[in-house]
């Protein structure tokens, strides 16, 4: 029979092509090499989040290189599997699945935004993967398959507010809670609002304002802050995300607001962000983190030196999420060596209670119960060279509250992955009533 049209044949060929590409790509990539331990790196290298996440990818690569130079782990070399989820949230889930199912990685270091973490969470839980999440976040979560190496709100936001209330911090009476409209600022501000109310701050003395992602015109908002602040000491708590910070601070400076009049404390502005800004208008404004590059101790000095050498760029800076990856990576290596295997269940058990000397100058411990770190809180004032001058720090590491006691709905919740609780989100222990029953 004479074929009149080959359109569908071509369609068939096209589909076949895609198929074969995938099928070849799949097994080829998953050809398992038993001599190496695979480490997945799930950070956006393109799209809006590339600004922040590429450095984290570099840090993991640096740590892997260093570990391999030391002889690897369990006598095997580490091998990085880098993928680009392109700041696209469904793609994060897809790539996470691919890393675990196709590439058989033993651990994944990745994610930055809350939504990317929420997107990959079901994948890690379903396939029993292991994720190290290095960024300060809103809390209200504890997963069996995730270790949170960034700060929970009580390790960043509340100490910062306490500092601003103190005489040294300016004794703020009025508060502007300014953020980008997504879950981290919302939760942080919610916790802060409850906290401020507990401290006797009136509702009318709190101004809460949200801007969309990538908002770049802060003229009106800064003018409003000025109006609001007139007459009594005011502080701004900024959870403005990434790109919007430059226009915000530039507008503050342009409208003549100085840090000594209205200090801004930011939870998302670190050394890396400052590198892309003219720091002059920011001098004196604050940031609260668990680590600053300017902290002086031998561990940190070595870390900074190694980083500059690895990137081959003297101007590169270190920041808090990078340090979180360093801690997470070191702990994972220790846990693997202790467990003698990269098996996720074994490593997870070994992770609890791991201690490492961190660049922040403290011995940092992984909480076996809630999978978060005990971290110190450090508040720094921005200096002209884009670094931080440390003005306040906690006496020692603080335990993270995965569930905030300041939010009524979560106050009674407990995250505890040890027996007899074995639960990240419970009000009573799973095994309390049935002693002696082993975990499934």
């Amino acid at each position: 029979m004479r074929m009149k049209n080959f359109k569908n044949l071509r369609l068939a060929l096209g589909m076949l092509g895609i198929f074969s590409a995938l099928l070849v790509a799949g097994p080829a990539a998953s050809a398992k090499d038993d001599d190496t331990i695979k480490v997945g790196v799930l950070h956006s290298l393109s799209g809006t989040m590339a600004i922040s996440e590429t450095s984290l990818k570099d840090v993991v690569l640096m740590l892997i290189e260093e570990q391999n130079a030391k002889g690897g782990v369990l006598g095997k070399k580490l091998e990085a599997v880098v993928v680009d989820p392109a700041s696209n949230w469904p793609l994060f889930a897809e790539k996470a699945r691919e890393l675990i199912a196709v590439h058989d990685v033993d651990v994944v270091f990745g994610c930055w935004t809350s939504v990317s973490r929420k997107s990959v969470l079901p994948v890690f839980e379903e396939l029993n993967g292991l994720l190290f999440y290095p960024v300060q976040y809103e809390g209200e979560e504890s997963s069996y398959n995730v270790f949170y190496t960034g700060a929970a709100p009580n390790q960043q936001a509340i100490p910062a507010v306490e500092y601003l209330m103190s005489e040294d911090g300016g004794g703020a009476k009025k508060w502007v809670l300014l953020g980008t409209d997504y879950v981290y600022p919302r939760t942080t501000n919610k916790i802060l609002r409850y906290f401020l109310e507990e401290q006797g701050v009136k509702d009318s003395d709190i101004m809460e304002e949200y801007t969309p992602f990538g908002h770049s015109d802060y003229q009106t908002i800064v003018a409003n802050i000025k109006k609001f602040a007139a007459g009594s000491p005011t502080a701004v708590v900024s959870t403005i995300n990434g790109d919007s910070n430059v226009p915000f601070y530039k507008e503050l400076a342009a409208q003549g607001i100085k840090a000594e009049d209205i200090p801004v404390v930011a939870f998302s502005v670190g050394e890396e962000e400052l590198r892309g800004m003219d720091a002059e208008p920011l001098v004196g404004h604050l940031a609260a983190w668990n680590y600053f590059q300017s902290i002086e101790n031998p561990t940190n000095a070595a870390f900074i030196k190694q980083w500059k050498k690895f990137t081959g760029d003297e101007d590169r800076v270190t920041n808090d999420p990078m340090e979180a990856h360093v801690i997470g990576f070191d702990m994972w290596v220790q846990a693997v060596e202790q467990a003698g295997t990269t098996n996720v269940d074994a490593v997870r058990q070994a992770m609890g209670g791991q201690t490492v000397e961190s660049p922040s100058g403290y011995k940092i411990t992984m909480d076996a119960k809630n999978h978060h770190l005990h971290k110190p809180v450090v508040i720094g004032e921005i200096t002209e060279d884009g670094q931080f001058d440390i003005v306040w720090q906690t006496d020692g590491p603080i335990r993270a509250e995965a569930w905030s006691p300041h939010i009524p709905d979560s106050a009674s919740k407990i995250a505890d992955w040890t027996y007899p609780w074995v639960c990240g989100n419970c009000t009573e222990a799973k095994f309390q009533t049935l002693p002696g029953v082993s975990a499934q």
Partner: protein, 385 residues
Amino acid sequence: MTHTGGRLPLHSRPQWAVFFALVGVAALLIPVLNLAVDETSPFHVPDYLVPLLGKYLCYAMVALAIDLIWGFTGILSLGHGTFFALGGYAMGMYLMRSIGQEGVYSSHLPDFMVFLDWKELPWYWWGFDHFAFAAAMAILVPAALAYVFGWLAFRSRITGVYFSIITQAMTFAFMLLFFLNDTGFGGNNGLTDFKRILDFPINLQTTRVSLYIASVVALTGVYLLCRFIVRSKLGRLLAAIRDSEGKVLFTGYDTLQYKLFVWTLSAAICGLAGALYVPQVGIINPSEMQPANSIEMAIWVAVGGRATLGGAMVGAGLVNAMKSYFTVAAPELWLYVLGATFIAVTLWLPRGVVGLRLPGLRRSKGKEEEDATRSEGSPVEGPRP
């Protein structure tokens, strides 16, 4: 061939053969190879591939929808991401409601509402407890939006780039709206953490395969519907509108009605695709409405080949497969590959990938086929030479 009522047969016999073969492979062979074949076998289709293919199928539906309105009617929409996402949100709302009290805060409300201190379900969430309602909404809401928008736009004869740009404005406005936490759709995080669909656990492989098969069925249906339209008298009228709307108007046709019909249908198809997409990828959030996403959707069609239904589907599959492959194989350079492909296709393959004349597959021109789907020469744009 016998023509009845100006309609051309959907397919020739060999075409039907190919069609059934493809549907058979997609709907039967792949699920069997995934579920029944042992994992160690070289013929096993790995688990992760099934939802991935399901996703491509949903994208293929979107591509068909865009092809219908762009390739065949000459109206370029840069806002189809909105319809897709609205369909997705409708399904996502059902999936959220079906979580029941197993959410983080063990409330009957979705977690993000508890978190915003909302005490009651907003009225626009009512009914989404029922799958049928949600499924209907997934199609009706995008269709209704498209109808209103299209009526406003086509009535005042907004055409060409003007139309494209205001559809872009529309998707941008919707993105901003859905980004707001206060609108009650979960803000930036969107809807996620689904547990089950129609009482089946969503992360079970059999559920995934079922969703995949549902996508195959939906795509097949949509394809046949589109094919039916473009082969009918309506299809030729649409092509006429594309090539010279003025002349069609002068011959006494009310083009508004036809354009509005296709535009609304196209949006409904997108909504269906979105509804199938969400349970397979596990999240829906406003970034699906980014203007860039809608542009990319149009690009799938252009890459595959406009005004050919097969081309649209191939384009969607090809671009996304490339994206999946190169984001792993060349994470630093995949944008080059993608960008260069787009440029190359426009410069050298104005008819898209399916316009490629493969050596040995000499293209014989069946007259009626060609006439119905495209007018030779300037396939889409107006008279400028």
